[in-house]
């Protein structure tokens, strides 16, 4: 099964579970969780079911395209269901079946893993799902988002697409994975992997990045004060990515690091609060729609 076929199968499966199929969000981010389609929408009482592929950038994992397992940018397939359905584990296991994974031929386990993202004031409980010893999915019941209690609770499923593909296609090297017939990950991503690594570790303009961080932070704050949650949040994502670039270059000391993280967290927290307040002001429209049905 090619990566493209995997994505199509997962989209079909979750679409059949009434998830809204979204496209990737267009601002750089380290994980699918950071998309506003997850982070903001999992706040508040409104129901929300969504699935999307998210390219996720981890500058510190850049290896110039030379490491068989690590990438500057990998892909996550992200599912959010709020409130978490009672049969969510079965729905998830069914999704493995559509990928051709017959549970009887494998060892599938739910191994405790409590997820926390201090930068976003987010925390949840759940598992890593193991397929024959390999972590293929992060399965989390959100307990807190942006410093606010999650109520009702959303469940988040994050599939590591390359990981899963390396198993399904039985490849040792991520660059050998087939994206679609005759086209490999290497064909599409080798050059950007190399160039982004070189940029991150060698060529990036540190002073400019520090300036950008401060500019993005200020813009996020000013925008939020005007109650414009989504644009403010975009600037928080930009802060976060800029920080990741600086951190990967090793120019942020341990002490400074804590300072930057808490600056981003403070922004994420107040945006979360503002988002819920704005939705409330609008009368939680999606809640009403559900009642009307």
């Amino acid at each position: 099964m090619t990566i493209q076929e995997m994505i199509l199968a997962l989209q079909k499966h979750w679409s059949d579970q009434n998830c809204i199929l979204m496209q990737a969000y267009d601002v750089e981010k380290g994980a699918g969780t950071m998309s506003p389609m997850t982070l903001l929408r999992s706040l508040g009482p409104e129901p929300w079911n969504v699935a999307y592929v998210e390219p996720s950038r981890r500058p510190a994992d850049g290896r110039y395209g030379q490491n068989p397992n690590r990438l500057y940018q990998h892909h996550q397939f992200q599912v959010i269901m709020k409130p978490s359905p009672d049969n969510i584990q079965d729905l998830y296991l069914d999704s493995l079946k559509v990928l051709g994974i017959n549970p009887l031929e494998h060892d599938i386990r739910f191994v405790e893993d409590n997820w926390e993202n201090p930068t976003l004031g987010a925390a949840g409980l759940g598992w890593e799902v193991w397929l024959d010893g390999m972590e293929i999915t992060q399965f989390t019941y959100f307990q807190q988002i942006g410093g606010l209690e999650a109520n009702p609770v959303s469940v988040e499923l994050t599939y590591g697409i390359e990981r899963l593909a390396s198993y399904i296609q039985d490849k040792e090297n991520v660059f050998d994975l087939e994206w679609t017939n005759g086209v490999t990950v290497n064909d599409i991503f080798f050059q950007p992997e190399y160039e982004h690594s070189k940029y991150t570790f060698e060529e990036s303009d540190t002073d400019m990045l520090f300036q950008l961080f401060t500019m993005y932070e200020n813009e996020a704050r000013q925008t939020m004060e005007k109650g414009l949650v989504f644009p403010a949040y975009d600037y928080v994502l930009k802060c976060s990515h800029t920080f990741n670039l600086l951190d990967a270059k090793g120019v942020i000391s341990v002490t400074e690091r804590t300072g930057y993280i808490s600056r981003i967290r403070n922004l994420a927290r107040s945006i979360s609060k503002t988002y819920v307040a704005e939705r409330e002001r609008l009368g939680f429209p999606m809640l009403k729609k559900e009642e009307a049905e």
Binding site: D107, R109, F110, G133, Q143, A150, V153
Partner: protein, 692 residues
């Protein structure tokens, strides 16, 4: 007729570490409920897997045990009128209890007669009470719990079904939107839902659905599977009870498999291989009969042996990826020198106010040097210790420690040896982190012990100077554990160094604090250590008063202080010691009345006075010598020589005499003796318990 009771809580996969404790809570609480509810039963069994907690009560009575209760009414005086007729009060009382005056009997309570009736409390039917068991389910405590969906209940993981039976009847209740039923669910992939006819079918019904509900049976299956595999392959799988327990709680139906990896990875440090297998993948490492790691591992699948080779292949692939990562780190790390990494330590902050790790290493080295001098080390031991201190943290910036944080020090030792450092210094790099837990293994080499003490003292003195004193359960830098580590090393190595001199040494290294701050911190550090010593002595069953007595003057040299405490704990119960203790304590009490220390022999008036003084002089000389040798018994015996002269002194002399010069002289004599006693211990703090 008695019937069995079954309660099963079906859950999404519980964290393995919660399973045994939750099962225990369930059985304990169930037992308590049956006893309190007066429902007789024959026995209780419990079961647990990652997806279920269950309890089976055999032969529970159909009714509560009935109870006869004696109920006291009004006093007879009030209950009967003069003619002996029952009054309104008596009638009212019996009516209120559902009885008549014919049921009344009379008993005396404390000399006064009262009327009584006996009330039968008829046992309720068990089936009416059993729904209360739902409260037991919700009362199980977990160290981390969560909410799900729209439910408000907090539990370890979501509850998905509950089987609850009394005989063939369902015990009805509802928790978090789930209603109890007579259905249970088998293995996630190998089993299906089954309806239970009666509770006794539980274990067998689940086994048919590929669930081994008894954790001991699962564990045994794993042990048997590993033994069979080991004998097939002619290797052995070292026992690891913790990992075995965890794996038992990760599966409902275990099958052991053996995987292998490329032998070329055996050149990695063994701890890297073990951590990769054990901590990351929950595999059991495999060794040859002569104890060498082999390129195999034992894993446990949650399922049967169908397509087991696919599972093995998958697990081998995962381990291969991990080991190839480790191999890459190992090779990258070897490209740089120790000096390169030491240089990097200048950019890693230890603590904001306490500087970088490089600063810390400088202080550790200075303390280790001073400690070596106190211990009069020389030659290679000295130079190896100093070198160990200089390089003790060099592995922190390596890729390998970044990836395998727990292996700090162990990686350092391997890399130091590769870089041609001497064996003793390399060993000390690993050992200086010991003890890792308060009661963990101590450094085996003197070099490791010295660097360990230096590192820990530096952290404690630094953190306390920076105002980071542990409070309550808050001890983020692990200062308590580290202080305990220091004290245990001092005790084990029997170094003749007082805790006070070590604290001075550590405090001196901090240039960034003012003298006033240092003095303040030094007092707090001593106080902090006193608490740790008290805690440790209590663990050896020494009581508070004796501890206060031996810590009166100072903490001192740890083994000696501990010896004194043990000896005094014995003497406080020893009748033969009574005359000595009385004499010495009497001196302490009187000496408290003076500051005077100057004795002039010419003022002595009596023979007994002179005698006490002469004895004191000879005791003081001998005591000082014995004290240096740290022999608690001999030192106390030496003080004991003062007892008779003290008794005589008090018998023949009046201390508080009107002659001021004589009085002052006598008090001064007592004060000098008291100082000597206090140096040993404040004997007046001890509660003497001699029985005669």
């Amino acid at each position: 007729m008695a019937k069995d009771v079954l309660i099963e809580i079906g859950l999404e996969e519980l964290p393995a570490r919660f399973v045994n404790n939750a099962e225990k809570q369930l059985i304990d609480k169930t037992e308590e409920w049956f006893n309190q509810s007066r429902i007789a039963y024959e026995s209780i069994l419990s079961f647990s897997t990652p997806r279920r907690l269950a309890v089976l009560v055999r032969e529970a009575a159909e009714k509560q045990t009935s109870l006869e209760e004696e109920i006291k009414g009004p006093a007879l005086k009030i209950a009967q009128d003069e003619e002996g007729n029952w009054t309104k009060a008596a009638i009212g009382f019996t009516k209120g209890q559902g009885k008549t005056v014919d049921d009344i009997y009379i008993k005396d309570v404390k000399g006064i007669s009262y009327i009584f009736v006996t009330k039968q409390i008829i046992g309720e039917p068990t089936r009416a009470l059993l729904p209360e068991l739902s409260q037991i389910i919700t009362s199980i405590q977990f160290s981390k719990s969560m909410r799900w969906g729209e439910q408000t209940l907090r539990y370890a993981r979501p509850i998905r079904w509950m089987a609850a039976l009394f005989g063939d009847e369902i015990i009805p209740f509802e928790i978090a939107g789930v209603s109890s039923s007579n259905r249970t669910f088998g293995h996630r992939f190998l089993g299906e839902a089954v309806t239970l006819e009666v509770p006794a079918d539980y274990e067998a019904a689940l086994e048919k659905q590929s669930v081994i509900a008894d954790p001991e049976k699962r564990k045994q299956m794993i042990v048997d599977g590993m033994e069979a595999a080991a004998s097939n392959h002619d290797f052995y799988i070292p026992e690891d009870s913790e990992l075995l327990q965890e794996v038992t709680n990760l599966v409902e139906y275990p099958s052991v498999f053996i995987g292998s990896f490329n032998p070329s990875y055996l050149n990695l440090p063994p701890d890297v291989l073990i951590t990769s297998m054990k901590e990351h993948q929950r595999y059991f490492p495999v060794k040859s009969m002569d104890g060498k790691l082999l390129p195999y591992f034992a894993g446990v699948r949650n399922g049967d042996d169908y397509a087991l080779q696919t599972v093995v292949k998958g697990n081998e692939k995962v381990l291969r990826a991990r080991l190839s990562d480790a191999q890459f780190f190992y090779e990258e790390d070897q490209k740089q020198s120790i000096d390169f990494y030491l240089e990097k330590l200048q950019r890693i902050v230890f603590q904001e106010k306490l500087g970088t790790i490089a600063d810390k290493v400088r202080r550790i080295t200075a303390i280790a040097k001073a400690l070596s001098d106190m211990l009069e080390l020389d030659g290679e031991t000295l130079s190896n210790t100093i070198r160990a201190a200089e390089i003790c943290k060099f592995d922190l910036p390596t890729n390998m420690v970044n990836e395998f944080t727990k292996l700090q020090g162990i990686i350092g030792e391997t890399y130091a040896l590769n870089a041609g450092e001497n064996k003793a210094s390399a060993r000390a790099v690993a050992e200086h982190y010991l003890p890792v837990q308060a009661d963990g293994e101590l450094p085996q080499t003197v070099e490791g012990a010295i660097v360990s003490v230096a590192d820990k003292l530096d952290t404690i003195a630094g953190c306390i100077s920076a105002g980071l004193i542990p409070t309550g359960s808050q001890d983020p830098y692990g200062l308590r554990r580290q202080a305990t580590g220091v004290l245990r090393i001092l005790n084990a190595y029997e170094w003749d160094i007082s805790v006070e001199s070590l604290l001075d040494l550590a405090e001196q290294q901090y240039d960034q604090f003012s003298e006033t701050e240092k003095v303040q911190a030094r007092t707090e550090t001593a106080q902090f250590f006193r608490h740790r010593v008290t805690y440790l002595l209590k663990e050896t069953s020494i009581e508070q008063d004796v501890i206060e007595a031996v810590l009166y003057n100072k903490i001192g040299v740890i083994p000696y202080t501990a010896q004194k405490a043990e000896l005094l704990s014995y003497e406080r119960n020893n009748p033969d010691f009574k005359p000595v203790q009385e004499a010495l304590v009497r001196v302490l009490n009187l000496a408290a009345k003076t500051e005077e220390m100057t004795i002039s022999e010419s003022v002595f008036k009596t023979e007994s006075e002179q005698k006490l003084y002469d004895t004191y002089l000879s005791v003081e000389k001998a005591y000082t010598k014995i004290n240096q040798q740290q022999e608690a018994r001999n030192a106390l015996d030496e003080l004991g020589r003062l007892a008779q002269p003290i008794h005589d002194f008090f018998d023949y002399n009046m201390v508080m005499t009107d002659d001021e010069a004589v009085r002052r002289n006598r008090l001064a004599l007592l004060h000098n003796i008291a100082s000597l006693i206090y140096d040993y211990a404040d004997l007046s703090a001890i509660e003497w318990k001699q029985h005669f």
